[in-house]
Symmetry: C2
């Protein structure tokens, strides 16, 4: 007799292990916070709780490799504007006035949305990140968070020099936490001096923390970095000694072949954010080339102001399609490649490949169950194709994170969502006041 705390049965189990093993009608056994069994299943089992997948798909929880979670509160505030008008008239004036409660509320709302659409781990860069971590922990989500660092004053920590101290305090505070990890997060090459970048890198290496940065998101960044340092962005990073497996570079839209080669040689990681890159007209990142060259590449939604949602199912669909038309080749970014980006490759990109991203014995139990008994998932020739091209976030019905059930039958068990939505509505009216007064 095998005994589990949670048993998930009667599903099509997509493990996303190195062989991409699939078990039809198999089981996932969970003991404590970890996966203790995946496979066809012993016949004699007892379990504290049984989740019947009813023939649906059982998948590792999705990994949102890059977001600014609290920006949910800016969702739909302004769209379809020239970039500088959008930033200067809306985003920057509002961000200058945000506070801890804003980040807590916005991140809780983001966690609710992410859990409801199948995400179990997210990587965040924003302000007041202790609040982001607290909100994620309250929601029961796994996260890698870091305070944004730049050469300006921050509404959180004040003058630039305090950013690293704040980051260090986060690292100390959350050390050993089962859900929250801390990264060092300089904003971008054009907003951070070489000194700040070097100091941030030193802090990251000292604490074995990832270093996360926006990189080559827009063509304008290339011009700025060339003007200031006479180098391409990745060359600038390399010259500062920052390229390495601890570096997670978000976007990488405008890397050329030499830069891809440099990134690959140093085993730096990439997070691709196709919807944001499209909506902000940033460009199409050379993702097929980066993956071909062996760069570990995950998928992210970016923040809600430039997407406007946190749904990795639509992000997968668009990632698969965008690069086909971008390269005029129907065979690139096949559904398995894209599904791996949203699961195990995303986990590896965040330095969490040993913890999450696949259903394998010994890993933490981050598992989602999808209902496939729906017209848009019918018929079913290939579950991997369906997950990328047909499934919707709303097909996710049960979610386990770190061995705890956080959503059952689409009911969130960790977040009082009515309360959070009411609060988000209240804050949105304040935000409109901030915008009005800034633009008077």
């Amino acid at each position: 007799m095998r005994s589990f705390d949670i048993l998930i049965k009667n599903g099509i189990i997509l493990t996303m292990d190195p062989e991409n093993s699939i078990f039809h009608g198999g089981i996932v056994g969970i003991t404590g916070d970890s996966i203790s069994y995946v496979g066809e299943g012993p016949t004699e089992i007892e379990a504290g709780r049984v989740i019947d997948a009813k023939g649906g798909i059982v998948l590792p929880g999705l990994i949102n490799g890059h977001t600014h979670a609290a920006m949910t509160l800016f969702r739909g505030l302004a769209d379809d504007l020239p970039l500088m008008e959008w930033l200067n008239n809306y985003i920057f004036p509002a961000e200058s006035r945000i506070d801890p409660d804003f980040v807590h509320t916005g991140t809780l709302l983001a966690c609710a949305e992410m859990i409801l659409s199948g995400t179990t781990t997210f990587c965040d860069m924003y302000l007041f990140e202790d609040e982001a971590a607290r909100a994620a922990k309250a929601a029961g989500m796994r996260c890698l968070v870091g305070e944004v660092l730049y050469d300006f004053d921050s509404p959180n920590y004040g003058p630039p020099a305090q950013g690293l101290k704040y980051t260090e305090s986060l690292i100390e505070k959350w050390k050993g936490d089962p859900l929250v990890s801390i990264a060092v997060e300089p904003h971008a090459l054009f907003t951070c001096s070489p000194d700040l970048l070097t100091a941030a890198n030193r802090l990251a290496l000292e604490h074995d923390a990832p270093l996360i940065i926006h990189l080559s998101e827009t063509a304008n960044e290339l011009v700025q970095i060339r003007e200031r340092y006479g180098k391409k962005p990745v060359e600038h990073l390399a010259s500062l000694g920052i390229l390495g497996p601890h570096l997670i570079a978000d976007h990488c839209v405008h890397l050329d072949g030499e830069e891809i080669e440099l990134m690959a040689e140093k085993d730096a990681r990439v997070i691709h954010n196709p919807e944001s890159n499209m909506k902000l007209a940033s460009g199409i990142a050379p993702v097929p080339a980066m993956i071909s060259r062996g760069i570990i590449t995950g998928l992210g939604t970016d923040g809600c102001a430039s997407n406007n949602d946190l749904d990795l199912f639509s992000e997968m669909d668009i990632a698969a399609k965008l690069h086909k038309v971008g390269t005029m080749d129907t065979t690139v970014m096949d559904s398995l490649t894209v599904l791996r980006m949203a699961t195990i490759e995303g986990a590896k990109a965040l330095g969490m490949g040993h913890i999450t991203g696949s259903l394998e014995k010994g890993k933490k139990a981050d598992v989602i169950v999808l209902d496939i008994n729906k017209p848009h998932m019918t018929p079913m020739y290939n579950p991997i194709s369906h997950l990328v091209y047909s499934a919707k976030g709303s097909d996710v019905i049960h979610t386990v994170i770190n061995g705890s059930l956080v959503m059952s039958e689409r009911k969130l068990l960790t977040v009082d969502i009515e309360e959070v939505m009411t609060k988000a509505g209240d804050r949105s009216r304040e935000i409109l006041d901030w915008i009005r007064s800034a633009n008077q």
Copy 2:
């Protein structure tokens, strides 16, 4: 006292009328098959049935301007392949063996999926289209359908010459039907001789029916048409005297400036299918340029083999984003433009602008209600932005078509969906056998 058969109250009513009027907390009154009131609402009302939108969005039902509905049965059968391998090894062998039951089952499945994601009208091109019409009517959906015509034998009507007769029989049979209209539908310029195109056009004009054709979907079509006729595709159409307001051209990916000008001068209509054009690496259609030139342009999903769903909410989101990155301009395809494409402009493109596509007194009552009390729709600054960038098909909770309630609280009232999904599963196993025997 005003009296309605159906009263929809307590919603944010987006009319999509010429002024894009919005009524907060207004009502839509339905009498028989038509809208008899839209606005702030009289205070004294009685109604046979009251639909409480509970603060949600009330919108005209979406218009899917181009699909091959029965291809739901090929959903996920094969993806990510070179185009000719996909067509020759999968789609063509399977299509050579389809039968009336296939089209009936596949179209019913499609109608269920479309209603569940907010579509109330669709335009279809496929085989055995009498079955498509019957299925749509059974599901209570509005449709414009036509039998595909080409220079080859058809599994339905046999030799090419019979295609026009079959189409004419459809026109006779469905004349005056409240939901079903018939179009004349030659497949494409490279599969239809000038004689067939001319005869099809004559039939369309004779019966005041739309003429629908795939146009310039791939760059290869340009080469073929140039080789055969020494002309660009739109020039070829013009030389045959076929360009006019009755022409609905699907895709139009590779039109140049001169062709856009010709299309605009003759008031021909366009249906844009971004997801299919991306997945099949067809290219990015010059939609912003066509709309700027005044060409009426709707939105379609194309068939499930190249999408792989029929969800116009994701199609809107992608349409808005694709052209921003395609033109490197964040301001093109703003959310209002895209929402109009999926509603009133789509209806106009199909020649149905007087019947559906907006909430206006005297039009047929095709109305959807969306639940916005969800994390991904919170907060709410701008309902139009949310419909394009944040809403999901699964947010649609009630649907009225032609004055009849076809979905209530997400429960389909017209289709026995369990039965249809079971049948679709059965047919999918047959389809796999067809593919195996064709590829032996």
